[in-house]
Symmetry: C2
Subunit: 585 residues, 2 copies
Amino acid sequence: MELQDIKSPADIKGLNYQELGEIASQMREAILNRTSQIGGHVGPPLGAVETIIAMHYVFDAPKDKLVYDVSHQAFAHKMITGRVDGYLYREDFPKVSEYTEPRESPEYDLFYAGHTSPAVSLCVGLAKARELKGDKYNVVALVGDGALSGGQAFEGLDAGGALNANFICIVNDNQMAIAENHGGIYKHLQHLRETNGTASDNIFKAFNWDYVYVAEGNNVQKLIETLRSVKDTDKPVVVHVNTQKGEGYRPAEEYRETFHFRKPFDIATGDLLITPQGENATSVLKNFINRSVKKYPTFLAISSATPDDFGLSQKEREMLGKHYIDVGIAEQTAVSVMAGAAREGAKVVYAVVATFLQRAYDQLVEDWAMDPSPALMVVADSGIRGINDQTHLGFWDIPMITSIPDIIYLAPANLEEFDAMLEWGLAQNQYKVAVREPSYSVEHADYEVDKDYSDINKFKVLKEGKDVALIGAGDFLVKARNVADLLKAQGIDATIINPRFVSGVEKDLLLNLVKDHKVIATIEDGSLEGGFGQRVASSLGAEEVKVLNFGLEKKFVDRYHSKELEETYGLLPEQITASILEALK
Amino acid sequence: MELQDIKSPADIKGLNYQELGEIASQMREAILNRTSQIGGHVGPPLGAVETIIAMHYVFDAPKDKLVYDVSHQAFAHKMITGRVDGYLYREDFPKVSEYTEPRESPEYDLFYAGHTSPAVSLCVGLAKARELKGDKYNVVALVGDGALSGGQAFEGLDAGGALNANFICIVNDNQMAIAENHGGIYKHLQHLRETNGTASDNIFKAFNWDYVYVAEGNNVQKLIETLRSVKDTDKPVVVHVNTQKGEGYRPAEEYRETFHFRKPFDIATGDLLITPQGENATSVLKNFINRSVKKYPTFLAISSATPDDFGLSQKEREMLGKHYIDVGIAEQTAVSVMAGAAREGAKVVYAVVATFLQRAYDQLVEDWAMDPSPALMVVADSGIRGINDQTHLGFWDIPMITSIPDIIYLAPANLEEFDAMLEWGLAQNQYKVAVREPSYSVEHADYEVDKDYSDINKFKVLKEGKDVALIGAGDFLVKARNVADLLKAQGIDATIINPRFVSGVEKDLLLNLVKDHKVIATIEDGSLEGGFGQRVASSLGAEEVKVLNFGLEKKFVDRYHSKELEETYGLLPEQITASILEALK
């Protein structure tokens, strides 16, 4: 049996253990084939190969429901369910998503589950639907790669433990999140591993689940035997599987953090094909961290399992010592820890990926914005060049954060402004300050960057002109400037404004603009609905001026090309210029 | 010692157990004195009286840090820290918030914590700040009244369990959330209670905490002895306290759900002073539930610990049987269960309080909006007459929900429209539909209410006029009509529009209005920034028409009077009319 001949789960059912092992090897080659060329998650899917083969061998998908969390583990599942070409042939790579994808395979991919921790809760829903329909099948969740530290996973275990019904939760314990794991639960998993599953105070049993331990989590025979023993169970059971992240590929076994997600690399050495060079937003942030820890005795940097946002290697994090805390994949807790430490006067900075911050909306409102807890939050990977997977879009952070009172959201337009905003945000003791890390392009300031941002909502006029005012927020100031150049060629001398603040508007300035401007255009690197530009439009609703809002649509998009999407949304400088000229008519 | 003589914790330190018991009795009377007159949480603070007395007796606040979650338990804490008048004298009631309130007492009230489950995470922050400052004091969280089912509580236990430092987490186990508790964890707590804390698979130990059990959680002597034994501990310890919700007040002991939160009542009987009469939004929802369970074999109603939103009594919930699930205070899981059950074809309705939905923002985006899971969500207690505590405002739901793609948010203007939207939302199989339950006033339709809302973003013109168009969303259609009457008296024949959809706009209709309208006014019962009206303003930014957005400011407000706040925000019909007349000049 060759990997490329597998078209559906039926094709592996007749194989013996040795043949399954050969398939596993071919799957590993295919995973490396794809990820080394276009980048992707490497360690997680490598470690889960045998578990997923065993799942499809023992259970009968799509009748039995298999759910993956986080679904970047599920490459083997995709190969078994008719999508192997997406790992073998370069031209087919783009057809297959990094995550489970209901549109790709409506029957085998039930959910996206691109963020961590929802699977058990989703499966409680499946189990309830099964009960209501009077059906009979197995509901199986594969949970792991750090997904156990997210609060929702525990909620799910809690709700699942109350079901008196078939439910199999396979915990893929690869001893890692994105980076090393943190928190009491991981000590507990370690105890369980060290005692072959017999340690006391078993957390899964506490949640009212049965429990089985598989020490050899990369041994397909052991896995099959265990899963057979729990198949058709009539009560919830956890199968705790001890796997190795990166299994079968030496560099990924050795450098588990670096190979969690990797840009294109040389399979032989594991080295990146292109190494990032020079100053960028991450290096600015990293330097800021290293300066701040010397400056403030109570400095605290917080991560929720993505230390990479700080640009800090494991060694550098260790050097920060007590000034650094990683709470695991637990953004709710990260925000509350920020608020708690700030309440007692610590100088706190929390760096988080825009899409993951979604998990802490309530804590942003109730624990940070409301409490007297001045601190600094850095939001990474936002905007059109953030992450282009549908499940990880950085399009919604401006609407999300700026709908909350008392959080100042700053959008720097270049590295110098980013640095200055970080400095001010941490130094001041009054405001809750979030800073949107630039991600569109590496820009440098050609104007005097302000050091003090306590004049809240004060826009900066970079160039005074007339007829047309271009307000380019953060990342997209560069577009405003490009548009200004194009307008100049048409004889129009446009005003250029860097608003810096996206959480409010300088109404007086806007009203002043009305006097000698016919069109005011806002340009932002985020979703328009609920965003920055609509505030400007509303502020000027009663004025005799045309307001045009340029930005992203409120729409899920997946694996897009940045430039193509900009064109679709009319965001290329030529397009924006044409729209403005049309409005001037 | 009389209760009113207590000005600070020092005043109780010299008392003996009998005197403390007398203070506890007086506190209970004071709690009933306040809540019976103005309403409030009854059972939770009654049950926690002794625990809080013991906390202040053993620990030294404000040096030691005491954090309450949920903070509606903390009435006794407020009485001990100088705010007893807020429970004794009617004129002082409004001065004291239902929750801990840093502005009321900056030194004793560290956080608001009006929502459940953040306390342990907040305390991890306090403990980190203590470490960084080189300080030495006790960090103490009182967690309870259902707060253990929220995922963040587990995240907190996880992060706390990794701290090698003083941290005391008192779990107030009153066997209840708002209603009865659900989930595996509550079975586990029951085992612990039944075995006097010795049951195996102790979840707190699993999270790497030490553990102590107090069977008599309303015995101040036992509590003091136990807290003394853990004071100044150098590692995290959970003190599991078995209390009675409503302790000391017969009706609250007996009817624990009804007395969780109670409107003004007769102390002698426990009966409400005013019983709600007649048809209202909740009764419409309740009737819809009872119809739907007969109509759809796969019907499923989901609650996250607030069954009251459905208007269903415990008995009625039991009658729903398998068609009803309460996942506990776990909104993330509720949304994912909704998505999971809908994915398999169940007919699902989830009812949730607007402010608590904030906790499930990520699940709304990633598990519901994105997945092929058509279902119906009902959002209660939104708008200016929702809940007027700062921590529970229903002002942000429109910006929050409508920033997410592919969720249709409907705002009915009256009970008949509410009913029709519920019917359609559950019957259809294509969209994710959220319906905003009317909360401003009880209105009835005087027009033909549509049954089908699949023409997405189709506004309904109730009356065609000219010069001024009034778009009154949901609750606030009534305001648009009042304004129209006032304009009529000025000789202006205004167009009146019920948009029904607040997640999008009917752009063609808007462009059409421009022809014979000079002013278009939007009126919404929610925060303006990121809301409905700003979309209208943006859509018409390039048109020659004035757009005025009326709604609530992006601002935290607390214990306001609805009419006063409307006046502050210029939302009284006379004010709106005046603004429009001004714009017409």
